[in-house]
C-alpha cells in the first residue's frame, strides 16, 4: 500500500491542474460569449494567418 504515498498526491495534483485551468478560463473572460465562440470556429476569416 506504500504506492498510495505517491498516487494520492498525484491524483490531487492532476485534479488541481484542472481546477487551475478552469480558474484561468474564468478570469480571462472565456465565458462571456459562449454562443459566439462556438460559431467563430466556423469562420474562415483567420485561416491563412493568425489574427494580429
Amino acid at each position: 500500500m506504500n504506492i498510495l504515498v505517491y498516487l494520492i498526491p498525484i491524483s490531487l495534483f492532476l485534479g488541481g491542474i484542472g481546477l487551475a485551468a478552469f480558474v484561468y478560463t474564468l478570469r480571462s473572460n472565456q465565458y462571456d460569449d459562449p454562443e459566439g465562440d462556438s460559431r467563430r470556429i466556423l469562420s474562415d476569416e483567420w485561416d491563412d494567418h493568425p489574427k494580429p
Partner: protein, 736 residues
C-alpha cells in the same frame, strides 16, 4: 479584450473584484491614450458565424474603427473608434450590411457588475466539483472494503479536502440561512446548512474515533448539486437583467436646453422647472411643459392610444413622452423628473402591483411544506434513536443521514433546471422573461387582452386603397409628402413608391408646421394637411387632405399597419381556447375595424388608463387569469393589474418596467408559443417535484431505520439529481 491572469489569489470577494476594477481602469486609460471612444450597438439580428464575420469585417473596413467585436450571446457589437465617429454613422454602416442596429448607452450597461456575482458562484461551483470528485474517489476505496488504518487515512484526507471546500463553497447557503433565521423565517437554505454542518461535524467525530461511516462525499456532492442549481438560476436572471438593462440603455436620454449662449445638449436628469427646451421634429418631450414657441403636431399614441396626431400651438401644455412630429417646438418646463405625468402613473402601478405580490411560486409552496418537515423528521429520528439505544453517537449519525437524504438536492435543481431550459427557449424566440415567477403565471392564463396602438399595430399608418385614387393627385401628394418626416407623409410616400408613381414637379414647397405642406403646381396652389387647413370636414378615421387649386379637398384615408404575426398570435391564442379581447384608447371606428380584421369578438374603445386597469380587475375578480399585452403609458396600470403581462421592446420604459415579459423582436407570434412553453415548463416542474417526493418516500425510511450507509446516500442523491435534470431538458427537445 481579455484581461491578463493574475497570480494573486484573494481570500475575499471584494479582493477578487479589485483586479477586475483595475482592468477596467487600465482599459479606459489605454483608450484615452489613443484617444479612441468605445461605442456599443445592439444588433438583434446576428445569429450565425457568417453574421459575426460580416458585421465585424464591415465595421473594420471603416477607416475610423480600430476594433470591432460582436458578442453573439448578448447580440451586441462593441466598437473602438476614433472620437469623432458618430454612433449614427456606425448604425448606418451595420444597417447597410442588412442588420438592425440601435445605439446603447454604455454607461447604463454595467457589464462587470452583473457578471461578478455569476463568476463568484461559478468559482465556488468549480471548487466544490473538484473537491467532491476527489473525495468521491477516495470514498470508493472505503466502500470497496478498505479497513483500519487505510480507511482512517482516507477519511482524514477527505476531511482535509472537504473542510476548506465546505467553508468556501457553501457560503451562499450559510448567508441566506443566516438572513432567514435572523428575520425568524425558515427557507430551503436552513435545512441545507444544517445538513452540511451536521454531516461534516459527525463525520469528523467518526473519523477521530476511527469509525466506519463518514459523509464527507455526501456533504460535498450536496453542495455541488445545489450550487449548480443556484448557478443556473443566477444565469437565467442575469441574462434577463442584462437584456432589460440593454433596453434601458437603448434610450439615450438627452435634451437640448436653450440658454444665453444658444442650445446645449444636456442629460434629461439635469433639466429644471422653468428651463427652456428645444424639441426637434421626431423627438420625444423630455418633460411636462408649455409650448412657448412654434407650432407642430403631436403623436400622443404612447400616452392615450389615439393614433390621430393632434395640433400643438403656443400656450398648449404637453406631457413627457409625447412625440413631436412636424415643426421644432420650444417648451418651458413645468414639471421634471419624477413629477412628470409619466412618473405620476407610478402610483397607479404600485396599487395594482400589490395584488401580484400575493402569488407564491411552486418552489416557495414546496419549501413551505418541506423545510419544517425535514427538521421535525430528523429531530424525531435523533430522539428515537437516543431513547432507543441511549447512544449519542449513533443518534447523531442517524440524524445527519436523514438530513442528507432528505436534503432538497433534487428540489434545488427541479425549478432552476426547468426555468433555465424554458427561458432559453423563449429567449431564442425573442421573449425575455423578466420576473422569476412569470413563467408559472403565464401557464395559468385563460384570457388575453391586447392593446391596439403600438401593440397589435406598428403605429405607422398605411394609405388605404391607393390604387383607387387619381394617379395624378397621388403624384402631387407624394411630391408634397416627400420632404416631411410626418408618419402620414411617410405612408403616402411608401404607397406612391409601391405603385411606381413619380412625384409631380412642384415649386415653392413650404412646410407649415402643425398644418401641412403647400406648394405651387402648374401655377395652382396645392395643399396637403389637416382638415381645417385645407377646408375639408374632418373624418372620424385617421386621414389627411389634399387640395388641388380651388377644387374640393380629397381625403386620403389611412389604416394602421398590423404588426407582423399579430393575426397569427390572435388566431393561435383563440384556437388554444383562450378568450381574446381588444381594449384601446382609440376611437370606436378604428378599434372596431381592427377587431373585425383580426377576428377578435370582444372590444372596447376610448378606454382611459384607469378604465383599462378596472376592466382587468373585473376579469380577475371573476376568476379569470388575464394576460395583458400592451405598450403605452396608458397600459401601464393595466399591465401591473393583470396576472401576467407582456410588452414589446418598442414600449415606453415605464410600460416595460411594469410588465413581466418583454418581446424583443417586432413579431407578435411568439406569444402563443410562449403560453404553450410555459404550460409545458410548469408540467415539468410538477413532475420533478413528484420524482423528488417518490425518492424521499423510498429513501427516508432507510435513513430513519439506520440503513443509509454513505454509499446509499451518494447513489440516491446523485441519481435523483440526474433524473430531475434530464427531465428538465426534455422540455428543450420535446416539442418542435
Amino acid at each position: 479584450m481579455t484581461s491578463v491572469l493574475r497570480p494573486s489569489f484573494s481570500a475575499c470577494p471584494a479582493c477578487s473584484a479589485a483586479p477586475a476594477a483595475t482592468d477596467a481602469a487600465q482599459a479606459q486609460a489605454a483608450q484615452a491614450a489613443k484617444g479612441d471612444a468605445r461605442l456599443m450597438l445592439s444588433v438583434p439580428g446576428v445569429h450565425c458565424a457568417a453574421c459575426i464575420t460580416k458585421v465585424e469585417r464591415g465595421l473594420m473596413a471603416h477607416p475610423g474603427v480600430s476594433a470591432a467585436r460582436v458578442n453573439l450571446t448578448l447580440k451586441r457589437a462593441t466598437i473602438t473608434a476614433a472620437p469623432d465617429i458618430e454612433p449614427a454613422e456606425m448604425i448606418a454602416l451595420v444597417e447597410g450590411l442588412g442588420y438592425e442596429a440601435h445605439e446603447l448607452d454604455a454607461a447604463a450597461l454595467r457589464a462587470t457588475a452583473t457578471d461578478r456575482a455569476g463568476r463568484e458562484l461559478l468559482m465556488r461551483l468549480a471548487v466544490a466539483g473538484f473537491a467532491s470528485m476527489n473525495v468521491m474517489l477516495l470514498s470508493v476505496a472505503v466502500w470497496s472494503g478498505a479497513a483500519d488504518a487505510t480507511r482512517d487515512m482516507f477519511h482524514w484526507i477527505s476531511a482535509a479536502i472537504a473542510l476548506p471546500t465546505i467553508a468556501f463553497s457553501g457560503q451562499p447557503f450559510y448567508r441566506s440561512a443566516f438572513h432567514a433565521l435572523r428575520s425568524r423565517r425558515l427557507n430551503m437554505d436552513v435545512p441545507i446548512t444544517l445538513a452540511i454542518l451536521l454531516a461534516i461535524g459527525t463525520s469528523l467525530w467518526e473519523t477521530a474515533l476511527s469509525g466506519h461511516h463518514a459523509y464527507f462525499d455526501a456533504a460535498l456532492t450536496l453542495v455541488f448539486f445545489l450550487l449548480a442549481g443556484r448557478y443556473l438560476d443566477h444565469r437565467t436572471r442575469a441574462i434577463a437583467r442584462s437584456a432589460a438593462e440593454e433596453l434601458t440603455a437603448l434610450e439615450v436620454p438627452r435634451a437640448w436646453r436653450l440658454d444665453g449662449a444658444g442650445e446645449t445638449q444636456v442629460a434629461v436628469a439635469e433639466l429644471r422647472v422653468g428651463d427652456r427646451i428645444r424639441v426637434r421634429p421626431g423627438g420625444r418631450m423630455p418633460v411636462d411643459g408649455v409650448i412657448v414657441q412654434g407650432t407642430s403636431e403631436l403623436d400622443r399614441s404612447l400616452l392615450t392610444g389615439e393614433t390621430h396626431p393632434v395640433f400643438a400651438g403656443e400656450g398648449q401644455a404637453v406631457s413627457a413622452g409625447e412625440m413631436n412630429l412636424t415643426g421644432p417646438l420650444t417648451l418651458r418646463a413645468t414639471a421634471v423628473g419624477s413629477d412628470t405625468s409619466l412618473h405620476r402613473m407610478a402610483d397607479l402601478v404600485a396599487v395594482a402591483e400589490a395584488g401580484r405580490a400575493n402569488y407564491t411560486s411552486l418552489a416557495d409552496r414546496a419549501a413551505k411544506l418541506y423545510a419544517p418537515g425535514v427538521h421535525i423528521l430528523s429531530a424525531l429520528a435523533f430522539l428515537g434513536w437516543l431513547i432507543g439505544t441511549g447512544d449519542m453517537r449513533t443518534a447523531l449519525n442517524i440524524a445527519a443521514a436523514v438530513l442528507i437524504i432528505t436534503c432538497p438536492c433534487a428540489l434545488g435543481l427541479a425549478v432552476p433546471a426547468v426555468t433555465t431550459a424554458a427561458s432559453g427557449r423563449l429567449f431564442k424566440r425573442g421573449m425575455l422573461i423578466k420576473h422569476a415567477t412569470a413563467l408559472e403565471r403565464l401557464a395559468e392564463v385563460d384570457t388575453v387582452v391586447f392593446d391596439k396602438t403600438g401593440t397589435l399595430t406598428t403605429g405607422t399608418p398605411t394609405l388605404e386603397a391607393p390604387e383607387g385614387l387619381d394617379p395624378q393627385a397621388l403624384s402631387v401628394a407624394a411630391a408634397l409628402a416627400a420632404g416631411s418626416s410626418h408618419p402620414l407623409s411617410r405612408g403616402i410616400d411608401d404607397a406612391a413608391r409601391r405603385l411606381g408613381i413619380t412625384p409631380a414637379d412642384l415649386r415653392d414647397i413650404r412646410e407649415v408646421p402643425g398644418y401641412g405642406t403647400e406648394a405651387l403646381w402648374d401655377g395652382r396652389r396645392v395643399r396637403l394637411g389637416r382638415a381645417s387647413w385645407t377646408g375639408a370636414a374632418p373624418l372620424p378615421q385617421t386621414a389627411t387632405f389634399l387640395q388641388l387649386g380651388e377644387g374640393a379637398p380629397l381625403a386620403l384615408r389611412f389604416a394602421d399597419t398590423l404588426r407582423t404575426g399579430a393575426a397569427e398570435a390572435v388566431e393561435a391564442l383563440r384556437s388554444a381556447g383562450k378568450q381574446v379581447m381588444l381594449i384601446s384608447g382609440d376611437s370606436p371606428p378604428a378599434v372596431q375595424a381592427m377587431a373585425e380584421r383580426l377576428g377578435i369578438p370582444e372590444w372596447q374603445a376610448e378606454a382611459l388608463p384607469e378604465g383599462k386597469a378596472a376592466r382587468i380587475q373585473e376579469l380577475t375578480d371573476a376568476g379569470q387569469k388575464v394576460l395583458m399585452v400592451g405598450d403605452g403609458l396608458n397600459d401601464t396600470a393595466a399591465l401591473s393589474a393583470a396576472h401576467v403581462s407582456i410588452s414589446p421592446a418598442t414600449a415606453l420604459d415605464a410600460a416595460r418596467a411594469a410588465s413581466d415579459i418583454v418581446l424583443l423582436g417586432a413579431d407578435l407570434s411568439p406569444i402563443a408559443d410562449a403560453c404553450a412553453i410555459a404550460q409545458s415548463a410548469t408540467r415539468r416542474i410538477r413532475e420533478n417535484f413528484q420524482i423528488a417526493t417518490v425518492y424521499n418516500i423510498v429513501a427516508v425510511p432507510l435513513a430513519v431505520a439506520g440503513l443509509a450507509t454513505p454509499l446509499i446516500a451518494a447513489l440516491a442523491m446523485s441519481s435523483s439529481s440526474i433524473i430531475v435534470s434530464l427531465n428538465a431538458l426534455r422540455l428543450k427537445g420535446g416539442r418542435r
